[in-house]
């Protein structure tokens, strides 16, 4: 058991020194936050990833409960922020909205995901 504990401590040491990004691009956080409720319609949805993105193959859409697009179809990776994906929104009414993203990291690995946020009545 002492050997196991030694291995665990060594693992923890390696863990502490681990790089901060994934090679696959995973969603790190978003604004509005994943699963959050916000009091008013945000002007944009912004997603931050754990890896830089390939602009030509990365996109995000936002739809309402009825499945209708409520974004401005202007998804972009801001200059100087290659790990960030943004899209503008139309003025939104209270309700639940679905954010769907599909990105390709600079090392060519594709990933995708969805989450919702809510605008309070």
């Amino acid at each position: 058991m002492r050997r196991i504990l030694t291995a665990l401590v060594a693992s923890a040491a390696v863990l502490g020194a681990a790089p901060s990004a994934w090679t696959h691009a995973f969603l790190d956080h978003a604004s509005p936050a994943v699963g959050s409720s916000v009091p008013a319609s945000p002007p944009v949805v912004t997603l931050w990833f754990t890896q830089d993105l390939e602009p030509a193959f990365s996109n995000v859409t936002v739809t309402n409960d009825a499945g209708q697009r409520v974004d401005l179809s202007n998804a972009q990776i801001p200059q100087g922020s290659p790990d960030e994906l943004q899209i503008g929104l139309k003025p939104l009414t209270p309700g639940t909205y679905l954010v769907s993203w599909h990105v390709v990291s600079v090392d060519t690995h594709p990933t995708e995901g969805t989450f919702t946020f809510e605008i309070k009545p």
Binding site: I4, S11, A18, G113, T114
Partner: protein, 308 residues
């Protein structure tokens, strides 16, 4: 796998066999839609992949006769095409029988061929067909109980994430299960008077993914390293289906946690015998697992069919 209790040699063989349950360490990681499945330690993963476990260290619980074994294992998985892969695995063993000197040496060489049957992104489901082969006379047969016969083990491995549950059940959606169903067909019916039964192997890994919770359900503010943790419980059993009694089922339960990072993952699990015949007490296992496809995305991390 040896399963007999008629004499000391058979018990010794059983103890050795218990240390290498056929539903053993996994090799692959992968994705189905937005679900990331980590490589699990006890049960095989339902993915072809380019990965390596280097090393996996197990201190096993004492066997029924008190023998204790420590293993250092290396696994390699390589994709030939995006849907076809091969695996190879071996381990160095140190067996300490009760009242006898310790013996060391290599266990049996194991290889596998796999075909990715399906990946369903929206339902976070996947399936894999495999044929594992445990090769005769590739380990220390007399001293460590390594087999003097080859065993063919066809398997079906599957995975399912619960992300397609209604969004009204948010905190169940990070759950996922992977599983293995398979058989052992030894090429000799007995070795030195000890029967070699055909076996039914079944194992499952029940996972709760904090990365999934954070990215796809609700950002509860977890930060590193906790946002990359995947607590899990693995179980695996082997039940003989002929030549010996089915009551001689052996198995393990392994609760633990996996941390999945950029180029590698680290897993640690306790090892608990699941039946009286599986031993007693407890042990532990740690695994350092490397993602070759992330380390070398444009060279050896690609399927061989895409090298040119």
């Amino acid at each position: 796998m040896f399963l007999s209790y008629t004499n000391a040699r058979a018990r010794f063989a059983l103890a050795a066999a218990l240390m290498a349950l056929p539903v053993s360490s996994a090799l692959a990681h992968g994705f189905a839609g937005q679900r990331f499945f980590p490589a699990t330690i006890l049960t095989d993963d339902p993915f072809v992949a380019d990965e390596m476990s280097l090393p996996q260290i197990s201190v096993n619980p004492p066997g029924p006769d008190g023998a204790r074994e420590t293993d250092i294992e290396i696994d390699l998985a390589k994709r030939i095409t995006p849907d076809i892969g091969v695996t190879i695995r071996d381990q160095w063993q140190r067996l300490q029988p009760t009242g006898l000197p310790a013996v060391t040496g290599l266990g049996a060489l194991q290889t596998g061929a796999q075909y990715q049957l399906f990946i369903n992104g929206p339902h976070e489901a996947l399936g894999l067909l495999g044929l594992n082969v445990t090769w005769a006379h590739t380990g220390r047969v007399q001293a460590l109980g390594a087999p003097d016969f080859t065993t063919l083990s066809p398997t079906f491995d599957f995975g399912k994430g619960l992300g397609d549950l209604p969004r009204s059940l948010p905190y169940l959606r990070p759950f996922a299960v992977t599983g293995n169903l398979g058989f052992d067909f030894p090429t000799k019916t007995e070795s030195a008077g000890v029967p070699n039964p055909n076996n039914f192997n079944y194992g499952f890994a029940f996972e709760y993914s904090f990365p999934y919770l954070q990215c796809c359900v609700k950002d509860i503010g977890l930060r590193e390293p906790f946002n990359r943790l995947i607590p899990l419980v693995e179980v695996a059993f082997t039940t003989p289906i002929n030549r010996v009694s089915a009551s001689q089922t052996v198995g393990r339960i392994q609760p633990g946690v996996i941390w999945a990072g950029q180029y590698f993952q680290i897993g640690a699990e306790a090892i608990l015998p699941a039946t009286r015949l599986s031993g007693h007490g407890y042990g532990g296992v740690v695994q350092f697992h490397i993602y070759l496809d992330d380390l070398f995305p444009r060279s050896i991390g690609k399927p061989i069919s895409e090298w040119w």
